[in-house]
């Protein structure tokens, strides 16, 4: 028997799997992508006295702080009906993206032990980070529902659109997480910068006050308005406010959001996967 005959059964170890095989491989390990976040949630507050109550406590304290600052002290609520719910919807929706993308940045750098020991599609790590944030968001949706009923907004048929809204939202978050995960693997400085980026972005995304108030005057140049209008987070926050408060939402905005989110996801996945074989080596 010659060596070449034997070699037919061999396959190269270090080739990047084609996208369909890669996705199939990810799908077959979906239990892993869910077990990781459950583990993370379990571990995240295990050192605190109140433990898992913090999953509800954190977002509620956040809303309390914003309500004090923007509602009571700065009076930004002028003219906004049900400001407390309006604000809470914005804060929770925005926080989901913020937490997913910042968490995504750490998903590769914090799991070096796993990356150095086991071989699996690396994209599962940002995915499980995003799933983990979604689980926390579940608690927050509960808070929103209670708040909507408590403030007299009531239950609405629009709530049925939530799965779609969350799907589009997740596509955006996942794309962002892929991008920061790879960037942070090359430059660990990224995870320091990302939180500030989001803090800045929050003020132009209409989370705590409507951006229209600052854009709707003749002094703002049209190109600036166009840039502001491309921000998918504005449309996203508006979409959630349509669900919970019935505020107007144009179909055009929804379409734009879907397109932008899909693009971010595709570009992010492509960008992340290009460095597949490099993760875990530094």
């Amino acid at each position: 028997m010659t060596a070449t005959e034997n070699a037919t059964a061999l396959r190269p170890l270090h080739t990047q799997a084609p996208v369909d095989r890669y996705l199939a491989d990810m799908w077959s390990r979906r239990d892993f992508a869910v077990a990781m976040p459950v583990e993370q949630i379990r571990a995240s507050h295990q050192d605190t006295l109140l433990g898992n109550i913090w999953h509800l406590g954190n977002p509620m304290l956040n809303v309390a702080v914003y309500y004090l600052v923007f509602g009571l002290m700065l009076n930004t609520d002028r003219g906004i009906r049900n400001f407390i719910l309006w604000l809470t919807v914005g804060v929770f929706a925005y926080r989901l993206t913020q937490a997913s993308v910042t968490g995504g940045a750490r998903s590769i750098s914090r799991n070096q032990g796993l990356l150095r020991s086991l071989r699996f599609p690396r994209a599962l790590l940002p995915v499980s980070e995003v799933i983990s944030r979604l689980l926390t968001f579940g608690f927050e949706l509960g808070v929103l529902a209670v708040l909507a009923v408590g403030t007299g907004e009531g239950v609405s048929r629009r709530w049925l659109a939530l799965p779609f809204v969350i799907l589009v939202h997740t596509m955006l978050n996942l794309g962002g997480a892929f991008i920061t995960a790879r960037l942070n693997d090359s430059f660990r400085d990224v995870e320091q910068i990302v939180p500030y980026m989001f803090r800045l972005l929050r003020y132009v995304s209409g989370v705590m006050f409507p951006i229209e108030r600052y854009l709707d005057n003749a002094t703002t140049a049209p190109y600036i308005q166009r840039i502001f209008n491309l921000n998918p987070l504005v449309d996203l926050v508006n979409l959630y406010r349509w669900v919970f408060l019935g505020l107007p939402m144009e179909l055009f905005q929804v379409a734009q959001l879907v397109v932008v989110s899909s693009l971010v996801l595709m570009v992010g996945f492509w960008y992340f996967r290009r460095a597949e074989l490099r993760y875990g080596r530094s």
Binding site: P12, S28, F32, S117, L277
Partner: protein, 245 residues
């Protein structure tokens, strides 16, 4: 008797890795002098070739920093070679004591997550879990966080995870030396079982007795290059002689 088919083929493999701590200096240097590649690269493996056949147990020896562990990371598919190629007949599984999977999670959770990452389904794991836990002999400690484990305990856990999927190619990087006698006997049994099923074993260890005992062939690596490749006892003898000189 026919020669068993190849399971690993390493062809002129070079492996380099970047030193992270040097990156800042490298970037600064590049900005100031506009020279250099901006990277500080360690050439850990410099052109190694060998073939391993099914059922073979191959030990790898060499002094500290000779490139053994780097080579194993590449064999496990975790590190891509800068040049050359590695071919395999099945999915390799690496067992090492250095890295712990999830330090804050319990041993129990680590087994679950480790097996899931290796591609087992939840149901499969549930079915195998009692047996895996029993194999580790960790008792109540299985529910303690991994960071509290001794290196021997960690090795038992990692061994259970790595062999849970009955790998065709098992790579052990200093995994067994830290275990006690009893664990070594048990793990040797598992390895024998694996080799009998046409599996392949490669192990790095500084315990030369273990190489003589477990392996039929040995590779000697020094400074990223292959010094000797042959019958285990011969290579170990040559290595011992050289290091005592």
């Amino acid at each position: 008797m026919a020669v068993p088919p190849l399971s690993i083929s390493v062809r002129n493999v070079h492996i380099e890795y970047e030193l992270y701590s040097d990156r800042r200096a490298a970037i600064a240097q590049r900005l100031i002098t506009r020279t250099g590649t901006g990277r500080s690269v360690v050439r850990a493996v410099r052109g190694i070739s060998f073939d391993v056949r099914e059922g073979e147990a191959v030990g790898v020896i060499g002094s500290n920093g000779s490139g053994k562990s780097t080579l194993f990371s590449a064999l496990a598919g975790l590190l891509a070679p800068a040049r050359g190629q590695i071919l395999v007949s099945g999915e390799p599984t690496l067992l090492g004591v250095g890295a712990s999977l999830l330090p804050r999670a319990s041993g129990y959770r680590n087994i679950r997550i480790g097996c899931l990452a290796l591609g087992m389904s939840s149901q499969e794991i549930d079915a195998r879990l009692p047996e895996l836990i029993e194999f580790t002999e960790l008792g109540e400690a299985i529910h303690r966080p991994l960071r509290t484990y001794s290196s021997g305990m960690r090795a038992r856990l990692h061994f259970a995870i790595a062999t849970s999927v009955e790998p065709k190619i098992l790579l052990i990087d200093e995994g067994l030396a830290v275990g006690d006698r009893r664990f070594r006997r048990k793990s040797n049994q598992r390895i024998r079982g694996l080799l009998d099923k046409a599996g392949t074993l490669m192990m790095v260890t500084h315990s030369l007795g273990e190489i003589r005992h477990t392996c039929d062939r040995a590779l000697w690596i020094e400074q990223g290059k292959l010094v000797a490749d042959g019958e285990a006892n011969d290579v170990v003898d040559a290595y011992t002689e050289a290091s005592e000189r």
